[in-house]
């Protein structure tokens, strides 16, 4: 099976070129400047961007346990509809992914679905209890790639220390959901002017920053690699900048909602804007954009967190934290490009190249000869309404659902196969 993607613009982290991509089976076998090849299928990518399949280091697929929110199939479909070909699902399933059998079951189910590569994140601690670390070696053997008690921080510093040290013996790393649980316990949004107006219990950004500081100090102590999940505050980035400058092994990610929105969105008590960490101030949002621009932020990850409409259709303080992200990753990130915050090359670096590097996926993250044919073809100018027909998640908790968006994946190719086509797109 040979596939030619012609007339498109190839965007890599370090270069942009107008050329054709020749794929045979699951590999990119050549980048060519002509069409003089025999192929089974051709995609005309005129006016489109050809980028390496996006790698989302932070999703929640709710499978096993909460399949009514999303399962591996709907999650995978949402991923490829968003140009994402590799996902790292968090461990807060039910049962938790804190042992090899769950990791194996997740991967087996995902392989059977066959749309994306699933690289599970294991729990740090057994039962998310924060007491004793999981069998990391065994889970890595089974296919886990990192460890996190996402949603529940490990409060005991000695457990976190052990996790960092032990993970490093397997050349793996720990992802921190940084949150001081005691400070502003039961807060429901960012503490700021908006929470003061609304009379909602706020969570100061220090709730996050305190734990970011601790975790980086533990990385300093252990030499282990800490990855800070969903950074949302200016001071978290300041602390990360300091740690990076000092040579501490720290990386971080920012979610699209944190570089796109502020807590002002909550003025109508819209539970679809409720997530943790919460939307913060204008100043914080600008710091995220600056961090993406100047290279301090390593990765864009969605924290795709589906919740059923029934769960969100309640009093604000009762609603669960979380927002869909997979299918709005491309339009929100392209908006950064349109706003001249980052270049297209930087976008590719943040959404594919750098995650591949962090995860040591040597055949991913670039459009190049010999690489795996995981490809997203993006139309940056496509305007459409993100509606129920397009939304592949089982859940609807995106404030952008039913809104007009610009920019989308029009083709997603996984291992050389077209796994998603934007509905209005016609293959030639």
């Amino acid at each position: 099976m040979r596939l030619l993607i012609k007339n498109g613009t190839i965007v890599n982290n370090d270069n942009t070129q107008k050329a054709n991509v020749l794929i045979e089976n699951d590999k990119i076998i050549d980048i060519i400047n002509h069409e003089d090849v025999t192929v089974d299928e051709t995609i005309n990518a005129e006016g489109m961007l050809i980028v390496p399949g996006l790698i989302d280091m932070h999703v929640h697929f709710r499978d096993p346990g909460y399949e009514y929110k999303d399962d591996l199939e709907s999650g995978s479909k949402a991923a490829v509809a968003g140009g994402v070909t590799t996902c790292l699902p968090m461990a807060n399933t039910n049962p938790l992914n804190d042992n090899r059998s769950i990791t194996e079951a997740m991967i087996a189910k995902s392989k059977n679905i066959g749309l994306i590569d699933l690289l599970p994140i294991g729990a740090i601690s057994k039962g998310f209890k924060g007491e004793s670390i999981v069998e990391m070696g065994d889970m890595i053997e089974a296919g886990a790639v990192a460890f996190s008690d996402d949603g529940l921080p490990v409060t005991d510093s000695s457990v976190m220390r052990s996790a960092l040290e032990y993970a490093s013996s397997f050349n793996s790393f720990v992802i921190s959901h940084s949150e001081d649980c005691c400070l502003a316990h039961r807060g429901v949004m960012n503490e700021g002017e908006i929470s003061t107006i609304l009379g909602l219990k706020g969570m100061p950004s220090e709730k996050e920053e305190i734990m970011v500081a601790r975790d980086m100090l533990l990385a300093k102590l252990t030499g282990g690699h800490i990855h800070i999940a969903h950074v949302s505050s200016e001071w978290s980035l300041k602390l990360i900048a300091l740690a990076k400058k000092e040579g501490i092994n720290v990386t971080c990610e920012v979610a699209p909602h944190h570089f796109s929105f502020t807590d002002k969105k909550l003025l109508t008590y819209d539970t679809n804007y409720k997530m943790s960490p919460p939307l913060r101030s204008q100043r914080d949002m600008e710091a995220m954009r600056e961090g993406l621009k100047n290279g301090l932020v390593d990765v864009i990850a969605t924290d795709h967190a589906p919740h059923h409409s029934d769960e969100k259709f309640v009093e604000f303080e009762k609603a669960p934290f979380g927002i869909l992200g997979l299918q709005t990753l491309v339009p929100l990130t392209l908006k950064l490009v349109e706003d001249n915050v980052i270049s297209l090359n930087k976008m590719v670096e943040l959404t594919s190249y750098k995650p591949a590097k962090l995860l040591k996926l040597e055949n991913k993250g670039k459009i190049d000869k010999g690489m795996l044919a995981d490809i997203a073809i993006l139309d940056p100018n496509l305007e459409y309404v993100y509606d129920d027909n397009l939304n592949k998640s089982k859940s609807k908790n995106s404030p952008l659902l039913y809104e007009k968006l610009k920019g989308a994946a029009v083709y997603t190719i996984k291992n050389g196969n077209v796994v998603y086509k934007f509905p209005e797109c016609i293959t030639k």
Binding site: E193, T196, I197, L198, G199, L200, V314, E315
Partner: protein, 310 residues
Amino acid sequence: MDIVYNKKDLIGLRELSKEEILYFLDSAQQFKDLNNSEIKKDKLLHGKTVINAFFENSTRTRVSFETAAKRLAADAINFSSSSSSVSKGETLVDTIKNMQSMKTDIFVLRHSASGAASFVANNIDASVVNAGDGANEHPTQALLDLFTIKEHKGTLEGLNVSIIGDILHSRVARSNIWAMNKLGMNVRIFGPATMIPKYSEVFNCKVCKTMEEAVEGSDVIIMMRIQLERQNESLVPSIREYSKFFGLNKERIKLSNKDAIIMHPGPINRGVEINSDVADSQRSVILDQVENGVAIRMAVLNILNQNRKG
């Protein structure tokens, strides 16, 4: 009187204009007169059903609303969450929609969650009066406060108002602050720093550092109830200490203007935020507030009922 308020619901004063606020105050006078007449009854809401849906404890506000509805000849039904199906896992909107199906015209809603009133109002056709939602708003309390101030002072604009106590968790403080700013009153707030929002600049009022500063030159002192259970959150070390440093007593009101009035939304904790020698003094208008509350609520119910006809 030209109608200047035509919304289905009354959720908060933050979203109201000065004219709309004054319209409610003006409308209440006729009901105050009625309440002081021989036959305390009008038929304005005859044949209408008003449900007091209280998902949080209340005595005064519920009785006040019930009295208001009954004096307007509505069928007033009380519902409180302890005896409701809420404990059986039904959602708030489902509970309200069930009661709406019984052809309810107006819901008076009290709920512990900020935003609950607008959430319900946006999802039903019946009218909603917010009788307090979390720390967000308690519009009828602020309206009755303003009515009482106007009654005693003759005017609102230019008055110095001190709101003292737990501002952070107070919906009464918020509703009053939003309204008083629109009406050109000078609001000051004071309380232990743990009970003053860090971002209180959004209130656009002066944050005082001492009780003396808060009270000096004041025309109106509104004491906020301290919720005794908040001690567990380490906001105040003890009731004793709160009273000593943040309570209102006879000595402290000497700094205020000599005709200053003392207010409190109730229920008062005697000897905590307010001493009996103040609460029972000539300056105290606390019971006037309660009286005016019925008139304000009659006005609110009547206006919303009229809006429903339109």
